[in-house]
């Protein structure tokens, strides 16, 4: 899997008084099976860049290609299908739904794909076992620990078996032990061939041996 950005620019509120150029002619290639870290201060544009790679919104100009497919320019209905297939997200706050139990949170991305409830449960349990939290499957999301919450978020990102994992400041709210545990899981995912992009300025992430490449981003521009 190859991620390729060509002259990607993202401008918020274009043409208005509060116009912000978050990304400025970004060129970036991420080879398949690599673990890359985007490092930058708050407001540097790293989350925007991650959102463009993840096709959350299109760039203002330029192209974002994934496996040779110009995902960023697909009409919404097709984009959604491809995003489900290609990309798994891990968010800074994990964005776990407190109303649902652990298993339902993990299997949530399978709902719109049309997979049967039995198959959803089977896949969800397999992942929960892999991350050693199967015993918490019926617990509400607000009844489990921070570390377990983090593993639920990772399991949810992996439930569709996407080749690309995007993580936005995943260790920002975690203590040292949990951050190290997170990087251990991420290293394992890299070993099985996943392409991983993490935004972070946490040394526990950027200095981790599994991270092959660190790209600095400042004022919407890359400094390799």
């Amino acid at each position: 899997m190859l991620i390729e950005l060509q002259d990607v620019t993202k401008i918020y509120n274009q043409g208005q008084a509060n116009e912000v150029k978050a990304l400025d002619r970004i060129n970036l290639t991420i080879p398949s099976g690599s673990l890359m870290c985007l490092r930058g201060a708050s407001g540097s544009g790293k989350s925007t860049l991650l959102a463009v790679i993840g096709c959350v919104f299109p760039p203002t100009s330029g192209r974002a290609t994934i496996a040779g497919k110009l995902l960023s320019r697909l009409p919404d209905r097709f984009l959604t299908m491809h995003r489900r297939q290609f990309i798994g997200f891990i968010f800074q706050q994990f964005n776990i739904l407190p109303e649902l139990n652990v298993l339902d949170n993990v299997t949530l991305p399978l709902l719109p794909v049309g997979i049967s409830p039995r198959e959803r449960r089977k896949r969800g349990l397999r992942l929960l076992e892999q991350f050693a939290i199967a015993h918490r499957r019926n617990f509400a999301a607000n009844q489990i620990s921070g570390g377990e919450l983090q593993r639920v978020a990772i399991a949810r990102a992996l439930i569709n078996d996407p080749p690309i994992i995007l993580a936005d400041e995943p260790t920002a709210h975690l203590d040292t032990r949990l951050s190290e545990e997170f990087m251990k899981i991420i290293s394992g995912l890299k070993e099985v061939g996943k392409t991983i992009v993490i935004t972070s300025h946490d040394p526990l992430v950027t200095e981790n041996s599994a991270v092959e490449r660190i790209v600095d981003i400042r004022d919407g521009r890359l400094h390799a």
């Binding site: 060509q6 002259d7 620019t9 401008i11 274009q14 299109p58 760039p59 203002t60 100009s61 330029g62 192209r63 320019r73 697909l74 009409p75 919404d76 209905r77 097709f78």
Partner: protein
């Protein structure tokens, strides 16, 4: 002008459709001037998002204009109760010079607007916007028809005068009338029926053949046959079938069958005939698009669906039209 709920609803809805389409027309001009799928610049990316919204607005607007034909017929039926001399929608439509042209332009609109919607649906079935230029070029071409449709309808409503005596359908659709109002002419029932059932049988046979093996030349023949059958069916309903529905040999009105006294059967007749003719023609119309990138699967799928719908509705329409006729011929009168 009649300030009643029907005229206000029709005028208000037309105004909304006009505004939606006018917004989309601006996008249409920009697409025709600047659309370049190979470009990665801000304008192209912006246009891709813009066309998505504009096309949705147009689809809903044109979809409503198609439905407005039904509303217009219902409104005309309602107006007849206020107009001197009018017994049904015929009198209401003949009450001024704009009624019949409005009806005709709305009938044409079913096909013209419907075809835009088909193009749009095919376009959004592909990942690569293959028909954006074509559908927006077509939109620009159909805008005069839409403006004409809305203008004629507004003029019709504005010029309705309750104190002016209008014609009754018994006069307009009488075989013996010779005052220039006769819309029927003189048709032989036997030849109309022979042509009607002959064409219907031919259409069914050709449709079944196309269903097994699609051929572009035969699809065009099928489309042409549907255009002929549409006109022929309207004549057949007026000249033959209507009098069996009314159980009155000299009553040939195509609008009275829309009334509750006749169980609104007219809506079932026209509601099957018009979509059947549209889908019968649409399959061939889109055939040249088969080889465009991204449409290799969706065009044949649509053609198959359109063929199936047209055949099914053909059977329903022929059954509905023949019901009263057969009842008389087999049982010797109404049961």
């Amino acid at each position: 002008m009649f300030l009643n709920s029907w005229s206000l609803a029709l005028t208000l809805c037309s105004a909304i459709v006009f505004i939606l389409t006018a917004i989309a027309a601006r996008t249409a001009v920009r697409v025709l001037r600047f659309w370049d799928p190979a470009s990665d610049d801000t304008r192209q990316i912006g246009l891709e998002s813009e066309t998505w919204l504009a096309s949705t607005l147009v689809e809903y607007g044109l979809g409503f204009q198609i439905i407005s034909l039904v509303l217009f017929a219902l409104a005309a039926n309602h107006f007849c109760s206020f107009l001197t001399g009018a017994m049904c929608a015929t009198g209401a439509l003949k009450a001024n010079a704009y009624g019949m042209p409005t009806l005709l332009i709305k009938l044409a609109g079913v096909f013209v607007y419907g075809f835009w919607i088909v193009l749009h649906r095919l376009d959004i079935s592909s990942e690569s916007y293959p028909l954006v230029r074509l559908k927006y070029g077509y939109l620009v071409l159909l805008l005069p028809l839409l403006v004409g449709d809305i203008s004629l309808q507004s003029l019709y409503i504005a010029h309705l005068k309750p104190d002016i005596v209008t014609s009754c359908c018994a006069v307009v659709f009488s075989k013996t009338a010779s005052d220039g109002h006769n819309l029927l002419g003189s048709f032989s029932q036997a030849s109309v029926l022979q042509s009607f059932y002959g064409t219907a049988t031919g259409l069914a046979a050709l449709g079944l053949f196309l269903h097994k093996r699609w051929q572009a030349s035969l699809a065009w023949l099928y489309a042409g046959a549907w255009a002929w059958f549409l006109g022929l069916s309207l004549v057949a309903v007026i000249a033959v079938f209507s009098s069996y529905i009314y159980a009155m040999p000299f009553h040939h009105c195509p609008f009275c069958i829309l009334k509750p006294e006749y169980s609104y059967i007219g809506f079932a007749l026209y509601g099957t005939l018009l979509p059947a003719a549209f889908f019968g023609m649409a399959g061939a119309m889109i055939d040249p698009l088969r080889h465009r990138p991204g449409l290799a699967a969706s065009v044949p799928n649509f053609q198959k669906m359109a063929l199936g719908v047209s055949l099914f509705l053909l059977v329903v329409f022929v059954t509905l039209t023949s019901y009263h006729l057969l009842l008389y011929r087999l049982l010797g009168g109404e049961s």
